[in-house]
């Protein structure tokens, strides 16, 4: 029998409960959602906030595999980061990759979504095909793209050769290595953007578009003044998502180029891996991790602001 009636008054069953039981019931009633969310909150706290805090502490030490003792060194690691030219190069490469990849993927992805939003025979199959790259493991994709871009035995250069176009050393050329990795990233990025944008497009009300068409608006005008503003929240999320994925990218760089030639494709995430796991400089690696976190926060905060407008 319920303790409280629909009008909020206590029932007879409530009247039978002790004072302590009644206090417990009211407390639980007020705090039910907090209590229900507590386990999930604690889990998320344990696996995110705690490691971040530990990482921050680690970044202030000289902890490395070769140090017998671990000493607090303050901001020395961060000073090294600011003055190290290799880090500057790595940061530049990272920004080039992230903004280059995300921009291209967003533009092409939205265009693809506009195409997929049309109704024609076979569109269902088409839409499904574009999800295939999302089902392939990142490492597998990286190995496949490395083979595709092989200078003498890869399909890309073979096809270019058939049409008498130049066949560069994609993964070994300083100017072509990063674009090659971006192309490999686009193979997954474009379908992701297209799929999410398509969902936004299909959820849009059709009446304003019909009215604009009747009033003589061109396709471009409809897109600019109706579709784009309506898609803005979706686009903000999509760009945010792809930015995070781009900053996190590791497999493509490790497998396709190993960070080379030289350090041309060494991005910050890969550099952190080298410092921490290859060289065992955990304190310095943690400091680089803090830097990555700060760099990621800035565009994410901007996007949140833009999406609210």
């Amino acid at each position: 029998m319920p303790l409280m009636a629909g009008n909020g008054r206590a029932t007879a069953a409530y009247a039978d409960r002790t004072v302590l039981q009644r206090l417990n019931d009211r407390w639980l009633d007020r705090h039910f959602f907090r209590v229900a969310a507590l386990p999930a909150f604690l889990l998320v706290f344990a696996v995110t906030v705690v490691p971040i805090a530990l990482g921050l502490v680690l970044s202030l030490t000289n902890y490395s595999q070769s140090n017998a003792s671990v000493d607090f060194v303050g901001v020395d690691n961060f000073t090294t980061i600011l003055t190290d030219e290799t880090v500057h190069q790595v940061l530049w490469t990272t920004l080039l990759y992230v903004f280059g990849a995300v921009t291209v993927e967003t533009v092409i992805g939205v265009c693809l979504a506009l195409l997929l939003a049309r109704q024609f025979r076979g569109i269902g199959l088409f839409r499904t095909m574009y999800l295939v790259p999302l089902m392939v493991a990142g490492v597998v994709a990286a190995v496949a793209w490395k083979a595709l871009f092989h200078t003498t035995a890869g399909w890309v250069n073979h096809l270019l050769g058939l049409v008498h176009l130049p066949q560069p050393d994609w993964l070994g050329g300083p100017a072509t290595a990063l674009p090659a990795v971006i192309v490999a990233d686009m193979w997954v990025g474009i379908p992701v953007v297209a799929t999410l944008s398509l969902a936004g497009l299909l959820g849009m009300p059709r009446d304003p578009l019909e009215a604009a068409r009747v009033d003589g608006a061109s396709a471009l005008q409809s897109f600019r003044y109706l579709v784009l503003p309506a898609l803005r929240p979706v686009l903000a999320f999509v760009i945010l998502f792809r930015l995070v994925e781009a900053f996190r990218q590791f497999a493509l760089f490790q497998i396709m180029t190993g960070g080379g030639p030289g350090t041309r494709t060494t991005v910050l995430n890969y550099f952190i891996y080298q410092a921490t796991f290859a060289f065992g400089n955990l304190g310095y690696g943690a400091a680089l991790g803090v830097l990555l976190m700060v760099i990621m926060v800035v565009p994410l905060a901007l996007l949140f602001q833009l999406s609210r407008r």
Partner: protein, 449 residues
């Protein structure tokens, strides 16, 4: 019926006795009946060794769980496990160059006592001493060395060459000096084939680049590394270092396959096997793969040679970087692990591997390398002769101090070599940058003032 206090006392005594026996288990354990775990990587010669494990289990009564991992991620997993003092493995295979690092992590057991008191049928003097130099570390130069591993395969500098291409180009014999080699490589390069190939990706270039560097830098047993002098100063911007850098760029840009900058050993090997590369310099361990007619189109035309040591380094020009087999310090079954190590490095396994599968890389013993096994199609005489030359002229630094961060130092050289190959920088600039970067690391670690 025993009263409760007495029952508890009896239980306590039993627990204490049990713990006491357990604590003594490291030195008095009976290996038979134990179950141990071996961590290793996938490669053709170690796959053969793994195939002999059932025989070992039958003979010793020790059950072995083998975990074979891809090489690309193996070392990272091993480092993390060592740092975490993992007990999930007992015996593991790893590069000997990382011995100092593993020792600093407290992850490996000295094998000296095992060799001296539990040798059994090991026959340690038969192991080629040039192959376990990396296993033998002294805490400080001049102090007694401690053996931490045994070599698990034989590895030295080797030049694989295509005899047919040489004959067609009118070159009578393999080159004997670097200038002859460079000239031959350029002569053998045309639209259909490249005269020369060696690893060029940042990590790979480091290894094969140093193979060549040993022919340029003067040898000194007091040096701290292949390119660090006795005072820890890098020799990259020395006249010899820069001469190497210039010749390296010339060879790697004029006589190599297109796209060399992204080539690793697998790419060079594939090109050689397909008859598109005339000379390939790399480790000797790949000989079985180029002699296997099911993998190589040029198995019948393949020759093996070793470039003789130069006057500046007459006896130490053979770069060997074999892996060793180690005992995990955190293992509770070290005696059983030692029995497995003896099996893996035994003459029987090596002879079987060479005779049955042509796995010449398994030959880490003098008696095996000098046996009649070398003289067949799968183990040609010139292969054995080249391996012997390289292993008899191994680059050793008896007075080098263990340095756990050598990985990081060598990475700078690897990057410089990659920049030279891809022409991002001139040889002089690339080596000057690497010199600065290495000096910074060594100063940070207190090796350079």
């Amino acid at each position: 019926m025993i009263r409760r206090p007495r029952r508890m006392a009896a239980a306590t005594v039993a627990v204490v006795l049990g713990l006491g026996v357990g604590a003594c288990g490291g030195s008095t354990e009976d290996p038979a009946g134990r179950e141990i775990t071996l961590w290793t990587v996938h490669n053709s010669f170690f796959d053969y060794v793994v195939s002999t494990i059932p025989q070992f289990e039958q003979q010793s009564g020790i059950k072995v769980n083998v975990e074979q991992l891809p090489e690309a991620s193996y070392l990272d997993k091993l480092r993390v496990a060592q740092t975490g003092k993992a007990t999930t493995f007992d015996v593991f295979e790893a590069p000997q160059s990382l011995t100092a690092q593993y020792d600093s992590l407290g992850g490996i057991v000295p094998l000296t006592d095992f060799v001296e008191t539990k040798a059994g049928d090991l026959d340690f003097p038969d192991v080629i001493d040039g192959l376990y130099a990396g296993c033998n570390q002294a805490k400080t130069p001049g102090t007694e060395r401690t053996l931490y591993c045994l070599p698990v395969f034989s590895d030295t500098t080797m030049i694989y060459y295509n005899r047919k291409m040489f004959a067609e180009a009118g070159i009578a014999a393999p080159p004997k000096t670097w200038s002859d080699l460079a000239a031959a490589a350029v002569r053998l390069t045309n639209g259909e084939q490249a005269g020369w190939c060696t690893r060029a990706v940042p990590g790979g270039a480091l290894y094969t680049g140093q193979m060549m560097m040993l022919y340029y830098l003067p040898y000194n047993s007091d040096n701290q590394a292949r390119f660090l002098d006795s005072q820890w100063r890098p020799m990259l911007t020395s006249p010899e270092g820069l001469a190497f850098a210039r010749d390296y760029q010339t060879l790697m840009t004029r006589a190599t396959p297109k796209g060399i900058a992204s080539y690793d050993y697998a790419d060079c090997m594939q090109g050689f096997q397909q008859g598109k590369i005339a000379m390939w310099m790399d480790a000797s361990v790949f000989a079985p793969d180029v002699l296997d007619s099911s993998k190589s189109k040029v198995s019948d035309d393949t020759g093996f040679t070793f470039l003789p040591c130069p006057p500046t380094n007459p006896e130490h020009c053979g770069l060997t970087a074999p892996w060793g087999i180690f005992l995990n310090k955190n293992s509770t079954k070290q005696d059983a692990g030692w029995e497995l190590i003896k099996w893996i490095t035994s003459k029987k396994v090596q002879q079987g591997g060479i005779a049955d599968k042509g796995q010449t890389a398994l030959a880490t013993r003098t008696s095996v390398l000098e046996s009649d096994l070398f003289g067949s199609t799968s183990a040609p005489k010139d292969l054995g002769d080249s391996m012997k030359y390289g292993l008899n002229n191994v680059f050793e630094l008896p007075n080098a101090q263990p340095y756990p961060n050598m990985n990081e130092v060598e990475q700078q050289l690897g990057v410089a070599l990659s920049e030279i190959i891809s022409k991002q920088k001139s040889p002089e600039d690339a080596f000057a940058n690497a010199q600065d970067a290495i000096e910074k690391i060594l100063r940070r670690d207190g090796k350079l003032s």
